[in-house]
Symmetry: C2
Subunit: 405 residues, 2 copies
Amino acid sequence: MIKKPAVQAAGPAAKPSTVTSLRQHNRARVLRQIILARETTRAEIARDSGLSAASAISIVAELIADGLVEEKGSISSQGGRPIAILSPRADSAVTIGADIGERGVAVEMFDLAMNRVDREFSGGREEEPAAQIAADLASALTALRRRNPDRWPNLLGIGLGLPGIVETDDAGERILYAQSLGWDPISITELCDVGAVVHAENGAKTQARAELWYGAARGSDHALVALLGRGVGLGVVAEGRLAHGSRSSAGEWGHTVIEYNGRLCRCGKRGCVEAYIGSDAILDAWAARGGQFEGSGWGALGQLIDGAAGGDPVAAAVVQETIEYLSAGLGALVNLYNPERIVIGGWVGLRLMETLGERIHEAVKGACLARPGGQFDLSVAELGGDSVSLGAALLPIEALIDQNP
Amino acid sequence: MIKKPAVQAAGPAAKPSTVTSLRQHNRARVLRQIILARETTRAEIARDSGLSAASAISIVAELIADGLVEEKGSISSQGGRPIAILSPRADSAVTIGADIGERGVAVEMFDLAMNRVDREFSGGREEEPAAQIAADLASALTALRRRNPDRWPNLLGIGLGLPGIVETDDAGERILYAQSLGWDPISITELCDVGAVVHAENGAKTQARAELWYGAARGSDHALVALLGRGVGLGVVAEGRLAHGSRSSAGEWGHTVIEYNGRLCRCGKRGCVEAYIGSDAILDAWAARGGQFEGSGWGALGQLIDGAAGGDPVAAAVVQETIEYLSAGLGALVNLYNPERIVIGGWVGLRLMETLGERIHEAVKGACLARPGGQFDLSVAELGGDSVSLGAALLPIEALIDQNP
DNA sequence: GCCACTTATCCCAAGGCTTAGGATAAGCTC
DNA sequence: GAGCTTATCCTAAGCCTTGGGATAAGTGGC
């Protein structure tokens, strides 16, 4: 059983001080670029990384020798030697990402080119205690292992996207605090102990990581990725990297107060963002005003939005109010983080953005200072509502990239 | 007249990719360490920077040859060759920092060891328009220049701590937006054009920079420095560096909404932090409940706090309310940034922290999530309420450190 | 088919940097 | 003054990046 002493997800990547660590640093930069781009060329690497062509070539040669990268055909270069296409060598490694929810776990396996090669869901319709979730996870992993016996030895590690705060204590043990689900603190080892390196991070952050790599936040140095669902989550990108704060709980937005002494939140405090724009809050507000709807999820929210669009004044008022609360929350974040982009995800977010994107954008502008308000785009998560496991699967990839070989 | 194309204050210090830039990087690290420590030794530099002794020695030799560092005596080393003390060569350069307020400018000159060598105030008791402030600044600089003719040729640059957002537009021109003072946007060049390199940054950020270098936030990787005065400001330290966001307006806290549809703020919106814990707001609230006091500043606030301590129920209620609003604001920040330290500065902050520090700390803990709430210290700004100009004077120093010679 | 041309890639020597380890300097204690 | 300790300096070795020339592998025109 391999245990690593708490590999911090995406560690600060200490700045190089020796010639050798400089090389490692450049190598990491190149490998990241190749995995990120999926297909690229030596010249492109040199250009984008700022390295000379000679260095790019030398690093690529090393990566090919290590089996991480391969040449995959070539394209003609208008009147010259054809350009070799470089790709991650997909079958050289696999990574697993798990979206851990209160009703079960969705586990996905990707190859090094980040193609999904297998997936497994385990869980039910009811909310489950942590121990049951751990069992679900174990069974899903067992299924994946059974179906992919040839790939399993190449498993880089497992990334968990978790519904709560993940902290590393002084002894190096990582603990999940999922208070809002009513779970007692549980150590990551207890949750997943399967003979592979396990990485763990808050699910909103893993989703943000996915959007940062392959989605709507791609290439942004400063972005906010909001995850709106039953609860609300946030991933903050600052200086091109995901913010973690001193103990990796930065970005806890759901329990920011937007109304002093306001509505009671399930966290026990009053006036939290989540108490206004979580799905339950929205639908409760509608019901309280006499709204009639079925179910409690995607469908019900759709009825609300359609009703508002169709002229139902009560539905319209609830939608308007929801937009205002959302904007108050996001406006504060714009002032604080000065992002160039806001990405809205989560199933509530996707539903809202289907028709209301423009209104939300205007409302957020109105809720923040004029200067930062004119400097951001608002867009919808490109990877759909379901990118937590993709982002989690990137954690072992990041570890591979930053590793000191 | 020297004009630089908008030197971004404390630029991202692009990661080194060549051997030469690595050297520059290490050199910067060592120089920073020497200026920061004021007195250190070669061995200490090697230890703290992670460089080998040989490299530390070689870099120090280079800095001495450049005239930036000098040996300044030695201390005995229990039974060995004495240890040479290294210091910045104080008289090799000077830097100027200016605290630009609405009633005038406070300008201070420091040598390379960050000893204050001169200061000048220019302004009056009334609020002044931007043009008048520019004239004040020019006259203060002229006075300093006249009194320090021998130092002036060694001036590294001038740093401005400004009461608003400083942005660089696409043409590279830096503009100050000081909306809350009623100033029209004004270019930095217009504000200060004196034949030296001019750096500019929001005043709350420069204060935070001062606390980060020499004050209560020293050594923190993640800290919040709140500046409470008539308005409220914030400097955010993340990953050891001051956060600036995509266009350098990150950290605008004063107009974060803490009460939806709450009190009207001078920014035109409702419910902003500043409308509750700015000095005017606090004293207005007291007056509205019949509080009797004289003046509008330090003295009046003292009367409020003393009254509360002495049993005056109205004063006690106002103080309690102020603490609650402050904590709601700070609690949100704790959730979002997960700091290891909060530093309270500004004259209102200093007054509050004189006797209420413990209560504030507890209240902030109560206003944020349990996990991040248990992980921060709360302390008072060590450099007093007046460190904006010190922080501003650090801007040319940072440019010197990061410069590409 | 052949030649001129273009572009990508490889190879090599030069130069810059860090570092380990030995040599030297400069004090202390006995 | 001998022996010891600690700081500092010096040097050769090993990496790394890079510019520039050499080579590979096409296209287009004739």
